[in-house]
Symmetry: C2
Subunit: 460 residues, 2 copies
């Protein structure tokens, strides 16, 4: 009942958009793992990456500086939607009949023009490319969230964008493509006849439905073979997670406004950029001796459980084995997850920085099936008003479970989770859930074993 | 280029959500027109409306108090997304190469959980019903924006909701239905077998695709015939426009923060609630001797031009002639507009208060075709980042035209327009526009004449 459940929103003034991104590499107990050349397996240098990324981005990928200043022009665009709100979920708490000592907070990134956290890195990536004279960018997209965020950013900075969109999504989700095209991008189904990688696959499998791995291969090849073109990635890499730390830095300040501190932080993990963005400033405070320890839980889909059922090993980022090798928790670059609706969580690996923290025992991980995630999302929507995207619904499930366990045990607990996007683009998935037809995938072990057997052998 | 086009966003702190709604009836040069009984044509009293609306709403429909206090519980829910931002469209201004004296501002309502301005009235309507012990509400919806906003509000206040959704939309837009159901509403296609009005139409036309007029008849009948049920309307009526004045009151304060004042305010008009909500506080300031005059332009679709090509006359709100008669600019209650994508603008009449202002020469009106509206929307999205819904895209078209005319004439001009919702639900329409297949309806005069010939004869 509304009058007994006061809306509690913590807002920051515009000048509290962070001045800098926070780099957890400065506070890690062990150094970040090296990135290896896909052919020689030797550690790669800036020169190897120069065909793909602008120098500023390459510098951010390897820097150990604790803070990286955010350019004024990037903060300026951030101001279109930042700072984003942090809420206490009082109505949800009441619905769960939680005692006063069990509290749920969430940081909401759905107010950006793209409806998700992705513009936090799309904007600086477009900016640095423009600053270095790049006229054209390529990228891949699965369901379209990343492609549309980058399309918006490229539109604002006057850069041409070509998006290789996984064919099955291109055909099933024409509206996501329309969003990218409205913002000025060109979007083709992948595999496409536009690249060597695409033509090779089409020659073998003319009706290939594509995959994120194939689309990455195409976008990388396109960028590597044209002087006017660079490549942009929406997750996994260090610089992407770095850019997303605006989320956690704001959240830390907002939790202080709430005179509360999280006992546990919960975030969903696909590639890991939303998760890293929210949690790294908190984890780093502890690692750097500047703050209290905090439990951190990474939530992945049971259909793509790279942390809980994968291996910590060097692997390719793409199916075509064109990308550098990075050490990550992975299910193998040949792993094909089931078609869950949380398209943003369907990546075979987790970001190297997230994987390292997990390997060091500094974060926990849990896998959640699709139906319980949607059950939590519907409960959340009915009580908090906001309709969550399927990806953060996995985090909502775990946040609710944490709260109910604390209630059961009679413990006090403050829970913070990341609500990284709204679900206005995902109503087909809600429709399927509400009609009782949503599949509840959990990947069979033999397929995981087979994909893991295909990992590259790396001597390092 | 971003660094030469600073984001300029005017935010208000939470405590600047208005305390009261502003009622333009207190400042009109002539009294509001009476509402007539559909059978007797006698002015109706509160008792006639009591089967449909809670007493508090009936009181607001007829009050001439200048301010109506917003209940704390309603302001509390408003805090989920209010105050909403007001922007200066600097990047759009630059794209249009406007001189410094021509400025464009917009008030953005797309950050609400439903993505539009509709929750501003859905929340108080649900609240007053709950306060008076109503357990169930009925309403109609066309494309689903209103139905989903009311579903969200009813969810928050624990009220059952039944939505009669125009059958063609129900079938073509299952995702809008999924949104309503996620928030807990029941949604049936109209005409339905659940009401006498619906059964009668189905008996004559089993494959009827329905219309907003039919759906209103069904929702009204359902509410009128059940003791536990009231009816809610999302536009047209005085109390709905009253609730929406939070938009204009905030915008007035934000324009003062910008040290600017609009020479012209532009808003799209369907029923008129977004338009009235934005413009009435400004118009009322002038009418009440508290402020300078301001030009106000109502923008309607060429496919449904009730102000520019309709008649100012008493008419029914619905096809079934069940609603009271209200005096409004109307195309006749039998008018069926073409299937434009701005579903929120497809109503045969304009709100009595908007119609009265137009009749008194206090506001202007202009009709815009669908394609030029989308052309403006795409230009706006590429430069401002935010993707507009089709409805406010009509206002964007006119705001741009006003700016270009001022530039041409060498005049200074400050333009404010209402961006009442995002277009994340409307990508099918963008897809159609981008592929060159968008129809450009302008309603034929003979059909308008025929519909106007069907207006009821009212002696008053």
């Amino acid at each position: 009942m509304a009058e007994r459940a006061e809306t509690t929103k913590y807002l920051l003034p515009e000048d509290r958009i962070p001045d800098s991104w926070y780099n957890i590499a400065a506070d890690l107990p062990v150094p970040p793992t090296a990135v290896l050349h896909p052919g020689t397996h030797a550690p790669i240098g800036p020169g190897d990456l120069a065909p793909l990324f602008p120098l500023a981005i390459i510098g951010q990928e390897v820097t150990t500086d604790r803070f990286v200043r955010i350019p004024d022009a990037v903060r300026d665009v951030y101001r279109l939607w930042r700072p984003t709100p942090l809420y206490r979920a009082r109505r949800l708490e009441r619905a769960l009949e939680l005692p006063p000592g069990v509290r749920i907070f969430y940081k909401y990134e759905g107010t950006s023009p793209a409806g998700s956290h992705k513009p936090n890195t799309a904007v600086p990536q477009a900016y640095y490319n423009r600053e270095e004279g790049v006229e054209r960018i390529t990228t891949e997209t699965g369901a379209g969230q990343w492609g549309s965020a980058l399309a918006m950013a490229c539109g604002l900075f006057g850069i041409e964008l070509k998006v290789y969109m996984v064919r099955v999504s291109f055909e099933q989700k024409p509206y996501r493509r329309a969003l990218m095209e409205t913002w000025g991008a060109t979007c083709v189904p992948s595999p496409s006849p536009d690249t060597h990688a695409g033509r090779e696959i089409l020659a073998q499998t003319p009706d290939s439905t594509g995959s994120l791995g194939i689309a990455i291969s195409e976008a990388v090849e396109d960028a590597a073979t044209r002087d006017d073109t660079k490549y942009a990635l929406g997750s996994v890499l260090n610089h992407v997670l770095l850019h997303q730390t605006v989320i956690g830095q704001e959240a830390r300040e907002q939790m202080a406004l709430a005179e509360a501190w999280p006992d546990v932080i919960v975030g969903c993990v696909g590639g890991g950029s939303n998760f890293g963005g929210l949690t790294f400033p908190f984890i780093g405070d502890h690692l750097g001796g500047r703050g209290e320890p905090v439990r951190v839980v990474a939530v992945e889909p049971a259909a793509c459980p790279s942390l809980t059922r994968g291996t910590y090993a060097y692997d390719f980022g793409d199916t075509g084995r064109l990308t550098p090798l990075v050490k990550m928790h992975t299910l193998g670059h040949t792993f094909v997850p089931a078609g869950i609706h949380a398209g943003g969580l369907r990546y075979h690996g987790s970001a190297p920085l997230v994987s390292l923290l997990y390997d060091q025992g500094l974060i926990e991980a849990v896998a959640v099936k699709q139906r319980p995630a949607f059950e939590a999302a519907v409960l959340f929507a009915r009580h908090e008003g906001i309709l969550p995207a399927p990806e953060p619904s996995h985090a909502i499930r775990v946040a609710i479970d944490e709260a109910l366990r604390a209630k059961e045990a009679g413990d006090d607990k403050t829970i913070l989770f990341g609500l990284c996007g709204h679900g206005h683009f995902d109503l087909a998935a809600y429709d399927r859930y509400l009609s009782g037809n949503l599949e509840d995938y959990e990947h069979p072990q033999d397929e995981i074993d087979a994909a893991l057997a295909g990992l590259p052998t790396v001597a390092i």
